[in-house]
Amino acid sequence: MSTFGLWHYWVVIVLMMIGLYTVIARDNLVKKVMGLNLFQVSVIMFYVSMGKVEGGTAPIIPEQASGPVVYSNPLPHVLMLTAIVVGIATTAMALSLVVRIRETYGTTEEDEIRKLDRAEHE
C-alpha cells in the first residue's frame, strides 16, 4: 500500500481546496456560502474517514453476534452529526444576511457592494 493508503485524505483535501477557492475567489455571496458548505463537508468527511476501521462495521451492536465484532470509531460520528445540524442553522443565518445585504445594496456581488460603499464615502 505504501503512501497510497492515504488517498482518502488527499481526495478530501482536494474537496476542501475547491470549497476554499469558491469562498475566497468568487464575488457572489450565495456562491460563497455554497463554498463554505463544500468546505464544511470536506472537514466532516475528514473526521469521519479518520474514524473508519478496516473491516469494521457501523457502531451499532447487533442483537446476536457470532464472534467478536469490530466497530468503527463512534466518537467522530457523534461530533460530526451535530456539526451538520449546527452547520445548516448557521448557513441559514448566513443566507439571511445575504438577503438583507441584497435588500440594502440591490446586489449580491461583492465588488459592486464595495463600489457602492466607496461611492458613499466620497
Partner: protein, 346 residues
C-alpha cells in the same frame, strides 16, 4: 472490498463540487449541491458512519437546498461573469500542499492501531451494553458521554434561529411591523404555483404523514438503530416544509403557528437542560442520568437519553420550520416595499 465503489463515489463527489463552483446559474448550482450532499451521504455510509449519513441526506439534500432556493428567490439567480484570479489559486494550492504534507505522518486510512482509536473510543464501545443496554453506540455517546457537547450544539441551533428571526423578521424590509405580522402577511399570498400541480398536491398529501411517521420512528428507534433527535427533527421538519412549499404558507400556518414553533424552539433546550438539572436534584452530577431511576442505573440512563433526545428533536424541528417560515415569508413583505437601494445610492 469497497475500494472501487468508494473511488467512484469520490470521483462523482469531486465532479459535482467542481460543477457547483463553475455553474453561473445559481439555481442549477443549488440543485447540483443537493446531489453533492446525497453523494457525500453515500460515502459516509461506506465509512460506517450511518448516523452521519442519515443527517447529511436529510439536511444537505433536503433542507439546505430549500433554503438556498428561497434565498435565490429573494436575490439574483445568476452570478456575474468573472475572470479566474491567480492569487486565490496560488493560496489554495499552497494550503492544499501544506495539508497533504501534514497527512504524510498520519496513520493509513482504516488502520485499527491509529491513536484516534486508542483513547476513549474503546471505553465507549465497551460501556454501550454494560452501562446503557442501548445498542446504538452513537446515541449513547451523543446523549450521555458527550451530553455537554450536545447541549451546547442544541443551544447553537436555538441561537442561530433567533439570529435568522432578528435578521429577517423585525427590522429592514418590513420596518413598520413586528415579527408575527411579517409571517402573518405571508399568509395572504396567492396560492403557490405548486398548488395547481396535481401531482405535487396528491403526492404531498400522501407523503407528508408518512414522512412524519418515519420521523417519529427515527426519533424513538434511535436507541436501537441509526437515528436520534437531530435526524428525526430534520425529517419531521421536512414534512412540514414540503406541505408549506406545495400548499402555501397560510396553509402551513394552520398546521403549526409560528408562535407555537417559537415556544417549542425554546422548550426543547429547556427539556434538555431541565433533565440535567433534575439529575442535580437527585444528588447526581449535571446530565448524569443514572440517578433518575431509584432502582436501576440503566433505566435511569434510558429515561435520560429519551428525554434529552426528545428535547433535541423538538428544538431542531421548530428551528428548521421557523427558518423556512422566515425565508418564505420574506417575499410577501418585500413585494410591498421596494428595496432601499435607490435611497442608498442617492
Amino acid at each position: 472490498m469497497t475500494f472501487p465503489i468508494e473511488a467512484i463515489v469520490f470521483l462523482f463527489l469531486l465532479a459535482t463540487a467542481l460543477a457547483v463552483t463553475h455553474l453561473r446559474d445559481l439555481f442549477a448550482a443549488a440543485m447540483v449541491f443537493g446531489v453533492f450532499s446525497l453523494l457525500s451521504a453515500g460515502l459516509f455510509t461506506l465509512m460506517d458512519a450511518v448516523d452521519v449519513a442519515f443527517t447529511e441526506a436529510a439536511v444537505g439534500a433536503g433542507i439546505s437546498t430549500v433554503l438556498i432556493l428561497s434565498t435565490l428567490a429573494l436575490t439574483d439567480p445568476r452570478e456575474h461573469q468573472q475572470p479566474v484570479r491567480f492569487a486565490p489559486v496560488a493560496v489554495v494550492l499552497l494550503v492544499g500542499a501544506a495539508l497533504v504534507y501534514g497527512t504524510l505522518d498520519m496513520p493509513y486510512y482504516g488502520d485499527p492501531t491509529a491513536p484516534i482509536h486508542k483513547h476513549v473510543a474503546p471505553e465507549y464501545i465497551e460501556g454501550a451494553m454494560t452501562d446503557f443496554g442501548i445498542p446504538n453506540i452513537v446515541t449513547n455517546v451523543l446523549a450521555s458521554y458527550r451530553g455537554y457537547d450536545t447541549l451546547g450544539e442544541t443551544t447553537v441551533v436555538l441561537t442561530a434561529t433567533v439570529g435568522v428571526m432578528l435578521l429577517l423578521g423585525g427590522l429592514g424590509g418590513a420596518r413598520h411591523r413586528g415579527d408575527a405580522e411579517v409571517v402573518e402577511a405571508a399568509g395572504d399570498e396567492e396560492p403557490t404555483p405548486m398548488d395547481r400541480v396535481q401531482v405535487a398536491r396528491v403526492s404531498t398529501t400522501v407523503l407528508a404523514p408518512l414522512i412524519m411517521l418515519f420521523g417519529l420512528y427515527v426519533q424513538f428507534h434511535g436507541d436501537f438503530g441509526p437515528g436520534g433527535g437531530f435526524q428525526a427533527g430534520v425529517i419531521f421538519a421536512s414534512a412540514l416544509i414540503l406541505h408549506g412549499i406545495v400548499f402555501g404558507l397560510s396553509s402551513l400556518k394552520r398546521v403549526v403557528s409560528p408562535r407555537f414553533l417559537e415556544i417549542g424552539l425554546a422548550a426543547g433546550v429547556l427539556i434538555y437542560a431541565g433533565t440535567g438539572v433534575a439529575s442535580l436534584f437527585r444528588d447526581g452530577t449535571f446530565l448524569d442520568y443514572a440517578v433518575l431511576d431509584h432502582h436501576s442505573a440503566q433505566h435511569g440512563r434510558h429515561l435520560g437519553i429519551l428525554l434529552v433526545e426528545a428535547g433535541v428533536g423538538i428544538t431542531v424541528t421548530c428551528a428548521m420550520v421557523l427558518i423556512f417560515f422566515f425565508f418564505a415569508g420574506r417575499r410577501a413583505a418585500k413585494s410591498e416595499e421596494p428595496g432601499d437601494r435607490d435611497r442608498r445610492v442617492a
